[in-house]
Symmetry: C2
Subunit: 467 residues, 2 copies
């Protein structure tokens, strides 16, 4: 199997490691991790190495670690096991891996403990618990103890910052991978639209969408959301029937050797938006286009979020659902009754890129999450720079628990008459709409990586049920 | 979402818990486990509760535990979180869950620690490390320490034995679930055969096979093997092109709410077996049918394995590949140069049922694995009883590393002339064949749960490329 070898030329990985080596003062050690068992140790979920390790090596290798020390680097990995050849077939030898990754040296992972100075070596905690505890013990970290919350000490935090600085600005090799992820994601969505017809179940559409990803030997970058209950933001079920009056929301993205696509489209199961559905669909689309338009170097992502929020609020005022002055409504968070979540997030090797490092990746130094409902869910507040990739994904939802009269979020707006429930009632056939694309920041402005995928309502209607 | 509720009536779960309560002397506590993160905490693999928990409750609930104490039982689980309703939609309330599972009581998981007597309570270690360490600390188990090998103490071992006694003999509710898993598995294989044509890649066939499982809102019970290199027994890649002369081996099974199907078929990419392929295919099929025929209460599974081995050895002697007397060849393990692995394993909620408990489940008390190459891979050595379900899956493989002249396994057979490499060379177009079905032991003999799926070579040929 060639699965262990990196998909791109060694130069890109060497370059990333050299830049990391130049940015951190001592050695840095990043682990690939171990497969996660489903129900017994040998029955594992599809293995995915840690994104930091993948970024620096491109290698799909279990139980490995890369040590970057200035301009020198060592890949530690398990030696070839003759029994393994019988069961798993031939795999690339160390010489092949060294050539393909450009590392200075490959050594047996069993030698790692003796090869490092725990106090001097910076690391980032692996996401799988087994690796994290073993790693933490090897490196004397407090988070080696089960139950202890992971907090980065100063040395590890500075490694995190160096990695964030690198991974936030995508190099050409990264963009090549992301463009293919975007292309596959577009194909999946078109297949989903084409396969949609009343009387099927959500699972049928999901299956139609994931099949082309499997056919490309890809997996999904995150668990797909394919539902006629788009208002359930983190819906994980696929067992609802899909009926002629429903909107179907599909949030599905491909993982291209780890690099993520992340796209949402919402389409009418019948192939025709109702007038009310079309009105709110066009409103969400206008908000998305306004935010994309505002993508430019130096733009603050939070301002894009607020710009989209203002478009939504303005539209809701126009439809009589909200009453009042737009800026004031947005300031008070009235839009967040419907556009509940943040505008988007960084995207790269992780669909929420580097979310393992928390808001350290998404929020610029000195910026913190708001405590206001809605804005509190914003995952990104940085000034955009060329090479950053972000999602832009506004939405409109009617979440019963949130909109229930007397709920903590609606009370103030009911009390002062900002919310017109009679006007809202006319839009009962709209439970959830989201429109999401992946956008690269360039010096010239936005480049929509997933631009090939239809999103104008007429174009969507033409695709639905076409197969 | 109704995903949390059990798929079957409460009586079956109550009955299982009552039987467990009657078999263990003190309280027994079984955990559902936690989702396993892929690359950051919020991006998790599809959650699967521990099979022991599923068996006793049918509930798809994270971070829960069921306490069975004689005829009393308590389900501990997280309380409903109002924020959760906003993000995940309405979920069944405690009253619904209590009704659907028939438990005596539901309590907050936060109360579990105080509710149990660690020394008196038997448990089985969860498969996910995070749960296992938390559980082990709560119950003062040695395996709460990272790096410590899990060994069951006497009290936990007796719980394991009680669970094994129950889960080994499938009740009607279990069989209902397994029949649906079998039906879905059959559909997947037919779709794979129909979609096969030269020039595609393995991933295309895999996608065609998994699509109907996704459409049924099912997942695979284990990572699919779909390859033209059937000789790579644990092949995990899908990127080979499939060509007209190749045999394609597909080992794919559905998981029906946790209950597993496990089927292998091997078919010619062109739709026509070559004469040499047909000869060895028919040999493997004869071995499989002989082993299935021998399924009966009281039969020792190891004897079925050896019966299949004798059919294979006899056929290889007939083709001139092996030379000598069949019983002697099998005794020396000559067949294992080609039929490398064991005949099969228990199947139920796990595809290798209860393999989390090691050979304690697969091997009857007093029986141990052989050290002979081939027999050492046999996962099951029990006397069959009505209600047991097993796979029957002989195969023929030419594994280059194993058959290399001078390899540890072949040397003796080369030296004494038992292996005729010239005769073998005529079968170069056969790299790997396996034929596998799921078989229920009944008082009357074998009932093949996956019998609907074609396996006669003419029937296979008629299906391949039919779509």
């Amino acid at each position: 199997m060639s699965a262990g070898l990196p998909p791109q030329s060694p130069e890109s990985y060497v370059q990333r490691r050299r830049e990391l080596g130049a940015r951190v003062s001592g050695p840095a050690l990043l682990f690939s991790g171990l497969p996660r068992p489903q129900n017994y140790p040998a029955n594992v979920y599809p293995f995915r190495p840690s994104s930091h390790f993948l970024y620096l090596t491109g290698c799909w290798i279990e139980n490995a670690a890369v040590l970057v020390d200035g301009q020198r680097d060592v890949l530690f990995m398990p030696p070839e096991d003759p029994d393994d050849v019988v069961w798993h077939g031939p795999s690339p030898g160390w010489a092949d891996i060294q050539r393909a990754t450009g590392v200075s040296e490959i050594r047996d992972i069993a030698e790692l403990d003796a090869a490092i100075d725990a106090a001097a070596t910076a690391t980032l905690p692996a996401v799988d618990a087994t690796t994290r505890f073993a790693q933490g013990r090897m490196l004397d970290r407090a988070w080696a103890e089960p139950g202890v919350t992971v907090e980065l000490d100063e040395r590890d935090a500075s490694l995190a910052d160096a990695i964030i600085a690198l991974r936030t600005i995508h190099d050409d090799a990264a963009l090549t991978m992301m463009r293919v992820a975007a292309e596959a994601t577009v194909e999946a969505h078109r297949a989903g639209m084409a396969a949609t017809r009343p009387g099927l179940r959500e699972s049928d559409v999901r299956a139609a969408m994931e099949r082309p990803l499997l056919a490309r030997d890809m997996v999904t970058a995150y668990p797909s959301i394919v539902t006629v209950h788009g208002e359930i933001l983190h819906s994980r079920g696929y067992d609802n029937p899909i009926a002629a009056g429903d909107l179907l929301l599909a949030d599905v993205g491909a993982s291209n050797r780890g690099w993520a696509g992340d796209v949402t489209r919402t389409w009418p199961v019948s192939g025709r938006f109702s007038p009310t559905q079309r009105t709110l669909y066009e409103l969400v689309l206008a908000a998305q286009l306004a935010a994309i338009e505002a993508v430019a170097p130096g733009a603050r992502y939070r301002d894009l979020h607020l710009a989209a929020a203002r478009v939504i609020a303005r539209g809701l005022v126009d439809e009589g659902i909200l009453r009042g002055e737009v800026d004031g409504l947005v300031e008070r968070g009235a839009h967040a009754l419907f556009f509940v979540h943040g505008l988007g997030h960084l995207i790269g090797l992780d669909v929420h890129d580097m979310e393992d490092l928390g808001d350290r990746a998404g929020y610029a130094p000195g910026r913190q999450r708001s405590t206001q409902f809605g804005l509190s869910f914003l995952r990104l507040d940085r000034d955009l720079q060329p090479g950053m990739a972000v999602t832009i994904e506004p939405g409109f939802y009617q979440i019963p628990a949130l909109l229930a009269p007397g709920s903590a979020q609606t009370k103030a707006f009911d009390d002062d008459g900002s919310l017109d429930r009679d006007a809202l009632a006319k839009f009962a056939d709209v439970r959830g709409i989201r429109i999401e694309d992946d956008v690269l920041v360039t010096a010239e402005g936005p480049e929509v990586l997933t631009a090939a995928l239809e999103k104008q309502p007429d174009d969507i209607e033409a695709l639905v049920g076409s197969r």
